[in-house]
Structure formats: C-alpha cells, structure tokens
C-alpha cells in the first residue's frame, strides 16, 4: 500500500507480516499476537496507523491508563459499543466486573450487524502491566477467540520479552513478532523527515548527522532524539540567520553547535532543566550552569540550621565514631544554641524530604537513630552555600 509506506518509514517487512496475518476482513486471524521491541521503535504507531488505514474495527487500550481489570474490561466494552452504533444515538454505559461477564457481554455486542462478519481487533499497549493485574486476565485474553467463539484477535504491545510473561502452568502461545531497533541509517532517514520547510533537506540532514554523532553512543531512543533535534535546531541555524555563515559552511556550524550539544547532554537530556528554560538559554546566550536546575541539587532551599544539621548528619554517618572528638569540638556549640523543639521539627522535615531516613524500630522512643542518605556531591553543594569546607572534616579525604 503506497500511502502507508509514506506514513510509516522503515517498517516495510513488519507491516507486510501484519497485513498477511490479518488477511481478508472476514478471515479468522491468529487468536493473539505479541509484538515486542524497544521503546520508540514504532510498535504503537505502526499498529494504530495500519488499523486506521485499513479501517478495521479495533479498540485501542493502554494498560497503564486502565490499571485494574474492571477499568480495562469496561472500557473495551464501551468502545466496542460505540463502534457498533456509530450511526449516533447515545448508548448506555456498560458495567462489567468480572471476566466472565466480559465474555458474555462481548458475545452479545459482536452479534451486531456492523461487527458480525469482520475480525475485531483489541490492542493492549504496555501489556507488561497485565502481569500485575488479576491472574486470569492474561491467559484469558490470549484465548479470547476460543472463549467467546467469535472472530476476534488480541494484540499485545510491550517492551519486555515474551518469556517473562508466560504464566507458570502454561498458556496459549501467541504469535511473537519482533520490531527491530532502527539502525543509524534509518534513524537519520526518519529524523530528517520532519525538517522545517524554511531550510533545505540537505542542511537539516547535515544537522541530524552532527546530532547523532554526539548522542548516538548514549541514546538510541527515537523520541528523545527527536526532542533534542527540535530543541537545538534554532541554535544551529543561528550563524545562518545572523549572516555569519551560509548553509554550506559546515565547519563553522559545527564549531558553533558542538559545545552546545555537549551541555545539552548534561542538562536537558537528563531533564535537569526544562525545555522552556533551555530555549531561553539559547536565546539569551547565558551560561546554563547559572540556571536553577530542576533536580534536588539547587531546588531544595533549606533553612540555615537545617543545613548544618544535615552536614552534621552526613559527617556522623560517614566518619568513624572515634574521630568525632577530633572534628567536632568547635562546632558543637553552634548546633546547641537552637532550642530543642526547633531541632526536632527540622529533623522531621529532613526525613520528609528523604534526606535522612529512620534506621531501627519505631518503638525505640528514647533515641531514634537516623542515617544520612545524600550523596557527596549534594552535601558539598549545600556546604558551599554556608561556607563550610566539608572536605576538611571527612575521614576518607585525610
């Protein structure tokens, strides 16, 4: 189907396998198909596009959204109901609590004229969550064709391999289809596909080449690469826009964009700063290190004494007990000054922030023991804000 190939790139063999499995409209297809592959390898997109283009009656469910069996079953039935009465008229909401009722109601709904002679497809996305739901759902769906005696096929889409799904006492084995990851050539082709119309395709392809050169060793996820491509393109075009270089001056463009991409890897890629902050950085040309990050590093604004309590806790956690005297005689005074009640509140708030955790039993009323759960980098950042050189006091660094 030529139209399909333009919309779905680099997936010809998977599409042809699916099409031959589906067969003609009224043919019975294989009862269950299991599709696995990496995230962003096109499983959801290809399945949805194929079913919509061929206009086959289908119901698309996401198992993260419908995390209990009741939600899942009711939604499937209601969507099917919509499909069969597509001429209009408000149909009542169907309730369904057990899989038994589901099978019964499913048989009733698929007797309708508009659904009778065709294969109905049920697609369950993120199927790995089915394993955590009721135990009879997964084997039941695998055999739905047999249990309902109707022309229905269930497709499971997941990242996790089939061997981890198989129940202990065996089940009906589905047809397993693998969606291979995109090769670097395919990634280049797909990413270059959405180039903005103001620039030429070659210019954008060169940009994608540079982007892949920096990020490919770290990440092959198409969604992330696309996000990074869109965010960083304005910076890449900057020399051309300002008139400093023309489209073919690859070396200048490269020198302009390379440090920027390296910084992107440390911030936007890790979601340390949001994409809107990143765009502002590009426009104002400020140093991203000055930005307030999204991570705990700079986000946590602790009051002055809480910071000292945290530093003391860190030192207490990491220094052996016998060295305490050596380090602490001078500073103890500072902590003793605050009243006891306030210290207690501050400790509880640190526990809520998960910077300290309770060690030992709850029933030790007279002396709860805490442990400090922050990393060295974090405590150094905190210590820097109070002008306290923590390295001098750490046993491991002597």
């Amino acid at each position: 189907m030529p139209h399909l190939e333009n919309v779905v790139l680099c997936r010809e063999s998977q599409v042809s396998i699916l099409q031959s499995l589906f067969g003609e409209r009224h043919h019975f297809s294989f009862p269950s198909i299991f599709i696995y592959g990496h995230t962003a390898s096109g499983k959801t997109y290809v399945t949805q596009t194929l079913l919509k283009t061929l206009e086959l009656p289908h119901v698309f469910m996401n198992c993260v959204e419908c995390f209990t069996s009741r939600l899942l079953l009711e939604q499937i039935l209601n969507k099917l109901n919509h499909l069969r009465s597509s001429e209009g008229g408000c149909s009542t909401h169907i309730t369904c609590e057990t899989f038994n009722d589901f099978v019964r109601l499913f048989k009733q709904i698929t007797k309708a004229e508009s659904l009778k002679d065709q294969t109905v497809y049920i697609v369950l996305d993120k199927a790995e969550y089915l394993r955590d739901m009721e135990a009879n759902l997964l084997p039941g769906f695998l055999r739905l064709q047999e249990l309902t005696d109707r022309n229905v096929t269930v497709l499971f889409l997941s990242e996790i391999v089939w061997e981890k799904f198989r129940p202990n006492t065996g089940c009906f084995e589905p047809f397993v289809l693998y969606f291979p990851d995109y090769s670097i050539g395919n990634l280049q082709k797909i990413l270059s596909h959405d180039h903005p119309p103001e620039y030429s395709a070659d210019f954008y392809a060169a940009y994608i080449n540079i982007l892949l050169g920096v990020f490919y060793t770290v990440c092959r996820d198409l969604k992330e690469l696309r996000h990074l491509a869109v965010l960083n393109f304005p910076k890449y075009c900057e020399p051309v826009v300002k008139g400093e270089a023309n489209e073919r001056d690859t070396r200048k463009l490269w020198r302009n964009i390379e440090p920027h991409l390296k910084r992107a890897m440390q911030t936007v890629y890790l979601r340390e700063i949001s994409s809107s902050q990143w765009e502002k950085v590009q426009k104002d040309d400020t140093d991203p290190a000055q930005l307030k990050g999204l991570s705990a590093y700079t986000h946590v604004e602790l009051p002055y004494y809480s910071k000292f309590i945290l530093i003391a806790a860190y030192l207490a956690s990491y220094n052996p007990a016998r060295t305490d005297k050596r380090f602490f005689l001078k500073h103890h005074g500072k902590i003793k000054k605050t009243s006891f009640l306030k210290k207690h509140e501050k400790i509880t708030s640190l526990v809520t922030l998960q910077l300290l955790t309770l060690v030992g039993h709850d029933d030790q009323l007279d002396g709860p023991k805490y442990k400090c759960t922050v990393s060295l980098d974090f405590i150094r950042a905190i210590a820097r804000t109070v002008n306290f050189d923590i390295i001098k006091y750490l046993y491991d660094f002597l």
């Binding site: 031959s20 057990t98 038994n100 019964r104 249990l147 996790i160 089939w162 397993v176 291979p180």
Partner: protein
Amino acid sequence: MLINHALKELMEVEEVSENVLQVHLNGLLQINDKIALKEITRQLNLENVVGDKVFGSFAENLSFLLEALKRGDRSSSCPVIFILDEFDLFAHHKNQTLLYNLFDISQSAQTPLAVIGLTCRLDILELLEKRVKSRFSHRQIHLMNSFGFPQYLKIFKEQLSLPAEFPDKIFTEKWNENVQCLTEDRSVREVLQKHFNVSKNLRSLHMLLMLALNRVTTSHPFVTAADLMEANQLCSMDSKANIVHGLSVLEICLIIAMKHLNDIYEEEPFNFQMVYNEFQKFVQRKAHSVYNFEKPVVMKAFEHLQQLELIRPMERTSVNTQREYQLMKLLLDNTQIMNALQKYPNCPTDVRQWATSSLSWL
C-alpha cells in the same frame, strides 16, 4: 476439540438431544464459586434467572441448585453433562465447594450427572481434597502425543495440503504436489526433525507453518524450502539477544562491566557504584576517553536497563537506600552477552576487546 467432537456425535442421537442439558464452565472465567454458581444457573435456565440476571445470594443459589438437581432420580429427570475446562483452576477455589457438591450428587442416586474435567496437569489428583477425591470415580483419560517422526511428517503434509473442497481445483493440485515435494526435500526434513526434537507439540508446528505461510503472496504462490528455513530461524530466535541488539554503546559498556563483576565476584549482586567504578577503569585507559560521560548520564543508561528488565533489584525499592547503592542482579548470562555482541552493529573494537578480557592493557 475432542470433547466438542464427541458431544456433536452424541447430540446426533435424537433421544439425547431432546433430553440432555449441557453446562460449560471454564476455570479462567469463573474464578470463584459464586460466579460459577451464577453461570450454572444461567446456563440451565432455572427459575431464578430472568433474561441474564441471576437473583439471590450465593447460599440461596446453591441450595436452590442442589434441590433442583437432587429432586430427580435416574428414571424421570433430565441428565446433565458438566464440562469443566481448566479444571485445575477450579481446584484452587475456597474449600472446593463446587467440586465437592458436583461429585457428591453424581455419586448418589439423584439426578443423573456426568462431570468431565479437562486439564493439562498430570498431578491433578493431588490438588483435590480428601473428601473430593474419595467421591471422584478415578477415571482418567490421558491424551499424549505418542507419535514418532514419520507420523509427524505425515501430519505436516496433511496440515499443509488443501482439502478437496477448495474451489480452485487446478491450484489445489499444484499446491498439493508442491507439499509432496517439500516432504521429500532433505533440508525441510532436517528443519522438521530439529523442531520435533524440541517439542512434539502440534501447536509449535502450527506456529512454524504460520510463519512460513506468511510469505505466500500472489507473486510467490508456493511455499519453498527456504521459507521453512527462515521460519525456523524466526521461531528459535533469542528474544533477549534482540533486545540487547538495540541498546546504545554506553548501555553495552555497562553490561560488559557487569559481566566482569560477575566473573570476578562469582555472581554476587552488585550496585550501580560498583558498575560505575568498573566502567571508569575502562575509560581511564588512554585511548578510551571518548566514553568519558558524566555520572548522571551513566545513571540514566543504567535505569533504562532496569526498565527493560535486563537487570533486577534483589529486593523491592525502599526509601532507606539510595538508588546508586541498591543491589541488583544481571539477568543475562555470559554466552548470551558474547553472542549478542557478535551481532551488535558497528560495535567499536575497543569495547569488543574489553568484553573478552578485563585485564588492562597499557
């Protein structure tokens, strides 16, 4: 399938079809006795069923059903056949009340009742309670695949041939001739022998044939030996190796670091910090500074591996330990890793060399 066939034959006897009632239950659908009871009353169309809804509580339904079944005797009431699919799941219900009652009635001189249970577990009798087991008639029919390879070949041929009722006669003849040639082809026999040695199961044969038939189109109208060989390869693919094929180079480096840790410490669980230190040992050799990524970037790759379930925490995530120090286990073994590395596209040579030996070269 066997049951349905037998039932169909039985129903053809006129006396039977007028008298006998059938109740079909499935362990996957009726997951507790309450639902099972409602389903039975629904299928038998007893008086407390209106349309599809069954009224009354569990105790009421049970007593009503038992009364209805007990009132008859061998001469005047309708016989009922109960067919319980996935029988082993029924044995997991609380107190096995349903099974107890059904077997009880079938043993006593009340309504003529036949209970047929279908299961794939051989040890089903051990799952039954003592009182239920004693009421069981201990009649078991084992359906085992006891055919040898020549018969397997015959089944292959039969499954693949088109039946005589197929509308296009010329095509049927050509197709069946092709199937005959395939059966005599040596490479096809090898493929089938390998498949047979792994599993005699007919369903796996169907899967193999399905994969081969997928390639039949109007331009390629007959199944060839090459199709069958490719289908066999697809069947025996290692899916974890496929997942490893799609990982980024950084993630592969982390897996190799974990492999070395496993070799040194003999499969003791490790945490992220240990893996990172091992990775740093590799990065700090002079030529490898291109892999010098920041720690959070390496952490993100590690978390991706966890999401793909290639590594798994030893215990559930607790607040008490930091993420970097949680103990994990690798769910791939060394041969899988080395095989996957062979097929990995554009694997940098230094990474591959590091995989084979963890000793540092200067």
